[in-house]
């Protein structure tokens, strides 16, 4: 099952085209043109697995959005997108729990493979959680 992606960037043209291209490759893509809009979408749509997030945005910047996502939805993986000048902030973002970062403009194949990895990680984590939960139930019943 392919990943469901949320794209957050203040550049509308970039977000739209990227969404179309990812969609062509069989991914389910939602878009948001700012941090607040993205967070709202994330709250409403539990199906989102991976967020692709621009670091430098007016309003709430990428790092703050990341912190909020990690607090509210710890399992959702975040890939940071950045221009060269803000690599430091992308690295800082990884300290706050981002899965990886990519330089803008990015290669489509690389992005898809990174998204795939992130999705696998999330999937594995979720599987482990389900297993743990199942074991817990077994233990309770196992008398």
């Amino acid at each position: 099952m392919p990943a469901t992606i949320l794209l957050i960037d203040d550049e509308q043209g970039f977000v739209d085209t990227m969404a179309k291209r990812l969609g062509k490759r069989g991914l389910t893509v939602s878009t948001a043109y700012g941090g607040e809009e993205g967070l709202k979408l994330l709250d409403n749509d539990r199906a989102i697995d991976v967020v692709v997030l621009d670091v430098k945005m007016p309003g709430i910047n990428g790092i703050d959005v990341l912190k909020t996502i990690k607090a509210a939805h710890p399992l959702v993986e975040v890939i940071m997108l950045t221009g060269h000048a803000t690599v430091e902030s992308a690295i800082e973002g990884m300290k706050f729990g981002a899965f990886d970062y990519m330089l803008k403009p990015c290669d489509m194949e690389d992005l898809i493979s990174k998204v795939g990895e992130a999705y696998e990680k999330k999937d594995a984590q979720e599987t482990k959680i389900i297993e743990a939960r199942a074991r817990h139930i077994e233990l309770r019943r196992g008398d």
Partner: protein, 581 residues
Amino acid sequence: MSDVHYYHGLAKSMMFTIVLVSFTPLMLITLIAGYQYSVAYKEKIVDHLREIVLKHDQSVDSYLEEKVAELQVLADVEGVLSFRNEESLVRLHSALVRRHGGDFVDLGLVNSKGIQVAYSGPFKLQEANYTEAEWFKAVKKRQVYVSDVFLGLRGVPHFIIALRLEADGQEWVLRTTLDFIAFNKLVEDIRIGETGMAFIINREGEFQTTPRRDMTAEVPFLRQLASGMHLNTGLVRGRATMVTAVNPSTGRDTIFVTSLIKNGDWLMVYQQDESDAFSALNQARNLATVVLLLGGIGIAVMAYLMSKRMARKVEMSDLEKEMMNEQVIETGKLASVGELAAGIAHEINNPVAIMVEEAGWIQDLLDEGLGVDDNNREVQRALTQIRNQGIRCKDITHKLLSFARKIDPTVKPVFLNELVQEIVDLCEQRSKFASVHIETSLSGSIPQVAASPSELQQVFLNLINNAIDAMEPGGGNLDIKTRNDDGMVMVSIEDTGCGIPKANLQRIFDPFFTTKAVGKGTGLGLSIIYGIVNKMGGEITVKSAVGKGSIFSIRLPTACSAGLEPEKDKPVGDPNSDSLV
């Protein structure tokens, strides 16, 4: 600063200071030491002269006393009888001559009637009648008489010692003639310098010795001097008196040292031209004058050359400083451009990313085939988007290029509103990400200002950058206003940032003063701004409250007041231009 007069004035004041400081002590030392020296030296000379005169006056006195005593001894031992006998008189005289050199020229015995009854000597004076001779009259009254110099019967200047004797109720006078030349030697030998000489005069001012040169012209003066001496009752034996007067014969200042001898009958006079007596002193004075003069010239020349060189050095270093200032401004500009770079990079990167995505999208569509669905139209849209983004990139680079070109300090009329707007546009991206809201209210009625556009750009860019920094993090409002202000144009930049503490307010325009972390700021920005605004004849002021924000106000002279023709080809501004950005 480049004013030639300034450096001339500098050189002049340096020169005067050097001359004054070095010449004054030299002058003081010369004058004080010279005065002390001359006083001491004169005293010494005068004492020396007195000493000489006294010594000689004693030796003259003792010479005379000795001769008188000699004669008295002779009279006491031999008695009148032995003098009356011509033969024994000759014997006695020859004995005297043998033992005393030629001092006793002759020897004679005169009876109470003034007739010389016995005589021994080179002249034929037997039976000579001395009744009328002054000395004969004088010796009648006194026991011993030493005469003045006179010609007498023989017609040769001489003087005698007469001694009254009594024997067998009769009075006799023993007389002897003293050698005038030998006596003369006693005083003639006193010679000091070129004009110093001594002689003896009597009460009437007649010479008792032969002076070294003809002194007939001085006789009246000397007579007056002599009589003056005698009137002066304060004169005591054993003390020489000194008078400085103009010698009538030479017309020069002359020193006269006088002393009474022979119980006040004679006056020993020593005279010397003052200039001669103090010749060593005068030489010293001349030497000092020459040294002072040469030293003064040396000091003046050195002071002139040195001050000129110093002034030139100052001029050079000022020039260097000015060049350095220009370099610093250039560096500061680069620094402010660097600060912009982060924002700019992002700004350029965004359209580039879009173009890359669109290109990839076209590739995707081409792979699918243009005939499918409305792929053809989609490609058209993508191409338009790429073109639009390319134009966006071009705009950004042009804005940056127009700023980064070399600073041209030429002052010309500038439309301030346009310039402010340009900078605001340039900072837009940065302010957007820093959540700073820039508001401009530009007065449409302000005249053009006289300024260098590229330097003004830097002023505003620095101030806006500073304001945005001050509002980090959290953002705020930045108000930029232009308006007329009493014949000048006022620009104010007001932020709602952290403000500047009072202690720092004094120092913010100092070079290298910064509150930013090491490596984050050079501390040059505001000092460069200050320099630029001052150079243009404007002024910059700042008001700040900690926690509330700061207002930087710049007043700039108008192009008209600076004597520049305002440019007409551009609009002075939209009349209802109070625009919001």
